[in-house]
Symmetry: C2
Subunit: 125 residues, 2 copies
DNA sequence: GGCATGTATTGACGGTTATCAATCTATTTG
DNA sequence: CAAATAGATTGATAACCGTCAATACATGCC
């Protein structure tokens, strides 16, 4: 692709500083890392989930689903749905006692998530 | 609904520590704040947008759409779509020169976003 | 057993979002 | 002017997500 002698080849005459589309831009953030970061953000990126985490992070155990349902503007199946997502993400867990399910925060997992997000955010800086 | 004398009313006999559904849980994170945080995360929560921000944050200007299209695994309209979202969020901007549009990061807006996110993450801690 | 109750799951519906082919709009060049 | 090209927009499609009524499941109590 190089014609060093007669330099009339595809000099598309860019207004300033040639090089557009010439050398490939190095993507430092791989598609996989970007996907992982995106997943990390997605789990937090819903108001109900965020409020659930907020409530659980302030309560030392003893929060059952009916408590959450009373505190949140959605119905019980929706609460259960978000609780499931948060549990599958490892951010919360629950313990069944009798009829009730007591949910609580998994502080280590939450801290790890915070670290990953903070790291990626800094990498943007 | 109250029969104060004979106290057999709805003592649902919770396994331990009464109070489930009795007093309302205080929601410290308001629905509006949760929504704002969610919006803040959403704009970052896409691999392509994240890679765009990564590329732009490392290049001091001079990144045109064809550069991005070459570096990313999506077609030109999709690149333009995400560029538009990022621009509407104030995180990037562009300058047209001739046929080309040069995109660049808005570092202040990005820093502000990072601060808001970091703040909310800490509040969870 | 049968009834009541807390929670999980299912299934359906509506809304949002991501993607790309096709098209349109500048703009430059011949 | 016409042809070429970078980028934006449109419109269609598909996938995804949030919500809730209905239902299922489990447990405790009679």
């Amino acid at each position: 692709m190089e014609t060093p002698t007669t330099a009339t080849v595809e000099l598309r005459e860019r207004p300033r500083s040639a090089g557009c589309c010439a050398e490939a831009l190095p993507v430092r953030l791989s598609a996989e890392a970007a996907q992982q970061f995106s997943d990390d953000l997605q789990i937090l990126a819903h108001p109900i989930r965020m409020q659930i985490l907020d409530i659980l992070s302030r309560s030392a155990g003893q929060v059952c689903v009916c408590d959450l349902e009373a505190a949140l503007p959605v119905k019980q199946p929706t609460v259960s749905h978000h609780l499931r997502l948060l549990r599958e993400a490892g951010l919360i867990d629950c313990e069944r006692r009798g009829l009730w399910a007591y949910y609580f925060i998994q502080r280590e997992a939450l801290a790890a998530l915070r670290l990953r997000i903070a790291g990626q955010l800094e990498a943007l800086g």
